[in-house]
Amino acid sequence: MKKVSISELAISLVLIIFLLYTLFPMYIAISASFKSGFELFSDPLGLPNNLNFANYVKAFTETGLNRAYINSTILSLGTCVGILLTAIPISYALAKMEFKGKNFLMGYFFFCTTIPPQLFIVPLYFMFSKLGLVNSYFGLIIIYIAMWTPFSTLLMRSYFVKVPNELLEAAVVDGATKWKAFWKVVFPVAKPGVTTTLLIVIMWSWNNLLLPLTFINKQELIPVTVAVAMLEGKWSSSWEIIMAASILASLPLIILFIFSYRNFIEGLAGTGLKG
């Protein structure tokens, strides 16, 4: 039998502390969301007396979150389609074609991933209000696409590069056009990379606050992040409702994460950006 040394014990202990630290705020939020207003006020720390979903129903129907949910879904899916249409072709070109300015373009895109939205939102706001793109899904989706194309392109390119040229050559010899070669040969091989990219794009679209805060000011068009951020004004004494709404706002991401956390970890923490 292996002897457990003190240092091993200390290491386990530190990791357990990290684990408790990670879980504690989640516990507080979840337990608060099941308590009644009075229960939460008298005991914000303890377990709820019973599993009462009333706060969730109230948070969903009475705070405007239901409408915001639809808006966020439209924004996320629209951005996904946009990224598919714009970032896939350019990352394919950067991975498998030779052309002038290719390295410059890659450097520019890397640079773009570090450009703060604050640097362009003010003029963009005035441009978009002239064009009637303020308070429109389409306008916001266009901004999302523009902001995340550089990251998506660099990430997907790192997958497309791995597709062997021989596969492509074979397809071309068989008489396939470039588009056909792409859809039939490259896309299936690089599918995990595309999935990862889309998951991250969905997450970023769902989570963004600054842009809808700036470009959407019609109540019926706001996404969940803005809706949740505005809750405090109206429900400031009902933290049980705010917590229930916060959990509901995160639910789609939690579900995506449970089923595909490997993609998230690989896409965000891998070397995609550096390659």
């Binding site: 990791l15 350019i90 570090t114 703060p116 640097l119 194309t149 916060s246 998230f264 923490a269």
Partner: protein, 283 residues
């Protein structure tokens, strides 16, 4: 190779590149350039912009709110260059030693949550009457001397797990033989960490620190959700100041000048990256 030769046709490359590039230029590049121009104009968003030279910069530099925000950004930068990086390093190294990899998704999970949500959860925890603040008898977000640290602490909760995963994946790339050889030589766990793990992941470490420099000057959501810059401007950051100037007090020129200053820090970060890259530090 044959395939590549066939794709010399500019038109076909253009079709692949054009849509993404067009949207990028229209939404990001042109407005960003206009920001640089507007920084030298006075504009309320309605009337014709007036050229005022460097007046906007002079105005900003004469305001204590600006220096206050800049100082807060620097404090923020210092906190994020150290604390979460240390937490990420320690946890990643300990995960290597224990092989408790099941903890990885748990540590990572908070980083995918909307900032709005995490901000509100911590705001509730801190709440001096309704949250846990009442047990500790502290007012965190309402106290100008510690509010910024309160926000940073909430941000760290949703950030260190990302660094843990990044460092963990870098550590996975280190050859196992290095550690085996060290064990044979009688190295203890600290020595393994100090003389193998750290030197081997320096490129990743440097890369994350540079990104931290860039990101630290962009922080907006955390402050906006938790304090909106208050109390008494104690949590104001450059990004929140810019937002207020452009959309609340309609001083677009001054806001643009702040935007230029924010991007200078980003540019410094990028330059540092390329400088180290050239010098042969493998970033």
């Amino acid at each position: 190779m044959k395939y590549k030769n066939k794709s010399k046709n500019i038109f076909s490359v253009g079709i692949f590149v054009f849509p993404a590039l067009f949207i990028n230029i229209f939404v990001i590049l042109i407005p960003a350039i206009i920001t640089f121009i507007l920084a030298f104009f006075e504009w309320d968003g309605l009337n014709v912009p007036q050229f005022v030279g460097i007046k906007n910069f002079v105005t900003i530099f004469s305001e204590t709110t600006f220096f206050n925000a800049l100082l807060n950004n620097c404090i923020w930068l210092f906190i994020f260059l150290t604390l979460p990086v240390i937490m990420g390093l320690i946890s990643a190294e300990f995960l290597r030693q224990t092989k408790w990899n099941f903890l990885l998704p748990v540590f990572f999970f908070p980083t995918i949550l909307p900032i709005v949500v995490v901000g509100l959860i911590w705001k509730f925890i801190y709440h001096p009457i309704r949250g846990l603040g009442k047990y500790l008898n502290v007012v965190i977000l309402g106290d100008p001397s510690i509010a910024l640290y309160g926000i940073a602490f909430a941000n760290i909760w949703a950030w260190w797990g990302f660094l843990c995963v990044v460092f963990h994946s870098a550590i996975q790339g280190i050859s196992k033989e290095l550690y085996e050889a060290a064990t044979l030589d009688g190295a203890n766990k600290w020595q393994e960490f100090r003389y193998i793990t750290i030197p081997q992941i320096v490129p990743t470490l440097v890369f994350m620190e540079i990104m931290t420099i860039i990101w630290s000057f962009l922080v907006f959501d955390w402050v906006w959700v938790m304090t909106q810059g208050g109390p008494a401007g104690s949590t104001e950051l450059l990004a929140t100041l810019l937002y207020k100037k452009s959309f609340y007090s309609y001083k677009v020129g001054e806001a643009s000048a702040i935007g230029v200053i924010i991007s200078i820090f980003g540019f410094l970060g990028i330059s540092l990256y390329y400088y180290l890259d050239k010098k042969g530090v493998e970033v």
